[in-house]
Symmetry: C2
């Protein structure tokens, strides 16, 4: 039979209150008593029953992880890796993660994740693009949460951010260092804050590096206002090439799109990287295995998840602190396309 706190108390000759105190590393127990209790605990291989302590403590011990379903199903494992990193971090804690997906056209009345509906989490992390009404609901219900690689324009929330600006800037720097003079941008600008930042960095960098005159800054830009996919990369190349202006490098807003760019370039018989260099962003798993292997800005996805968890814990323990942004550094990984 599984030991209970009562059995430990009896064995050790103390009260259950005392056992509880040492279990939770709380002061108010003499060193001797503490070690006696600890011995008894390990001798009987005892561990507290979760539901009992949750009930008494009025906590759930769970945290939610919410992801837009398209993000989960995509070929790139970006957010899944974040999840993994978070799960790893979680192992040193008493928290379990409950992961679920939501649609973007999300109704708070019919699509609410069960763990939110039934108050089964102490906090949640929202990864990537998520419905804004979900975020509002979390706010009004005062459920602690942190955004991972996302932000809502005009609003301040706790969040983990990728250093998109510096990452993109580094990519441009890298290309310029290798003598590229006509660097194009293919990507998006509005659908995701991260992409927006990368675009902003592109514009800043080509200016700073003296690559182009102010009035020609947009000449080598192809961007869309919706999700950026592999196909956008293909279209981007076609469009840019049709302009008949020199292009010797392309900075892509993410790797998936970069694959499309590479494909289109190959079809047009361009040699990579000699004719055109290409740099992506995210350094997804496939980047390394692509032919040619893609140069990309490496984002430490597991770290994102880990930091999200750490931040969330802080918010749970101190709900009233003001929103803070934790930025995660990135670096350029040079491979065969640059």
């Amino acid at each position: 039979m599984k030991p209970t706190i009562k059995m430990i108390a009896e064995q050790a000759g103390v009260s259950t209150a005392t056992v509880s105190l040492v279990l939770n590393d709380r002061p108010g127990v003499s060193a001797e008593t503490r070690s006696l209790v600890k011995e008894t605990i390990s001798k009987l291989n005892y561990f507290p029953k979760r539901s009992a302590s949750q009930l008494a403590r009025k906590q759930t011990g769970n945290i939610g992880f919410i992801l837009w379903e398209d993000h989960f199903s995509e070929i790139e494992m970006f957010y899944s890796q974040c999840f993994l990193g978070m799960e790893l971090a979680t192992r040193d804690s008493d928290y379990y993660i409950l992961m679920t997906t939501v649609k973007l056209d999300f109704s708070t009345s019919t699509d609410l994740p069960r763990f939110l509906k039934y108050d089964d989490v102490d906090g949640v992390v929202l990864a990537g693009r998520v419905p804004h009404n979900l975020v509002s609901l979390l706010e009004t219900r005062k459920i602690p949460f942190v955004l991972l690689d996302y932000e809502i324009p005009g609003k301040k929330h706790h969040r983990i951010a990728i250093d998109n600006f510096n990452g993109a800037y580094t990519a441009l720097q890298e290309l310029a260092d290798r003598g590229r003079k006509h660097i194009a941008y293919i990507g998006g600008s509005a659908e995701h804050p991260s992409i927006k930042e990368r675009y902003r960095a592109y514009l800043a960098a080509i200016g700073d590096l003296g690559l182009v005159a102010e009035e020609e800054k947009l000449d080598r830009v192809y961007k869309v206002d919706h999700e950026i996919t592999r196909e956008i990369g293909v279209e981007g190349v076609k469009t840019l090439l049709a302009k008949n202006i020199p292009i010797d490098a392309i900075f892509c807003a993410n790797d998936t799109l970069a694959f499309g760019v590479l494909e289109a370039l190959k079809r047009q018989k361009y040699t990579i990287p000699d004719d055109v260099a290409v740099i992506g962003f995210d350094d997804i798993y496939a980047a390394r295995f692509h032919t040619p292997a893609l140069t990309s800005i490496h984002v430490p996805k597991m770290d994102l998840g880990k930091e999200a968890f750490k931040l969330l814990l802080e918010v749970i323990n101190n709900p009233d602190q003001r929103p803070q942004t934790r930025t995660i550094a990135v670096e350029c990984v040079c491979r065969d396309t640059s």
Copy 2:
């Protein structure tokens, strides 16, 4: 303040026992009382607190999902899709899924998932290749479990299986129907039961279809005894081509490997599918988007997860039934490589 069962009871003028009975859809309550209680419940927007009912009921309400960490990190989302399907199925139940990864050289004393260590799950599904000592531990601890796309030779367990044999056979049939006469196999044979089955089907089919004499059955086979990767595909093509025997089609043990095969074939200037047709297995997300789009045997990954959950529920509710295998049908999706 959140309503409790006590408040519902008072409001409805009944005992908490009665409320509990209607909450759990149990007999022993008159129709009138039942509907009165139900009204009160929805009026106060009440839902039972999980930890309390778990404590009283001596259940956890959680099920574990365990995955080899390499399976999770891989480019292919195979098991992640299974997880998603399972999570979806779970939404109609009261269960939450706790997902974690394990190493293959797994120590039951130091690497045990927390939810197993602390008895926080009512059952678990093990997806793909998993450590055999983990399975043994589950058996001796009498924790209900089902294997998803895996089996342990010589042992009977509850499991969800892909119809690998018929899938592979169909692929061969398909190639033969299109006039291919010299069909090769590239893949593995031992590391995973599914792969083994696909290989077995290959041998059976080329025989049945009269494609090759018994003594030449192994002439067009390239297989390894470890994990099959993209690189294995490349090597396989090189090795087979070096034999200088006619080959007009290649059946690959999975899609990832097929990508390597395609790449190697292209490098050697073969036209696909005219010179050599290629069929993969699994129909991973990338298959559709590859250039050329890969013909593959489609495995309904979400269904695998869903069925695993359903089976697990049955086992939890009836732990002593004999091990059963539920086989999931597959079908050939023809695209540009065949």
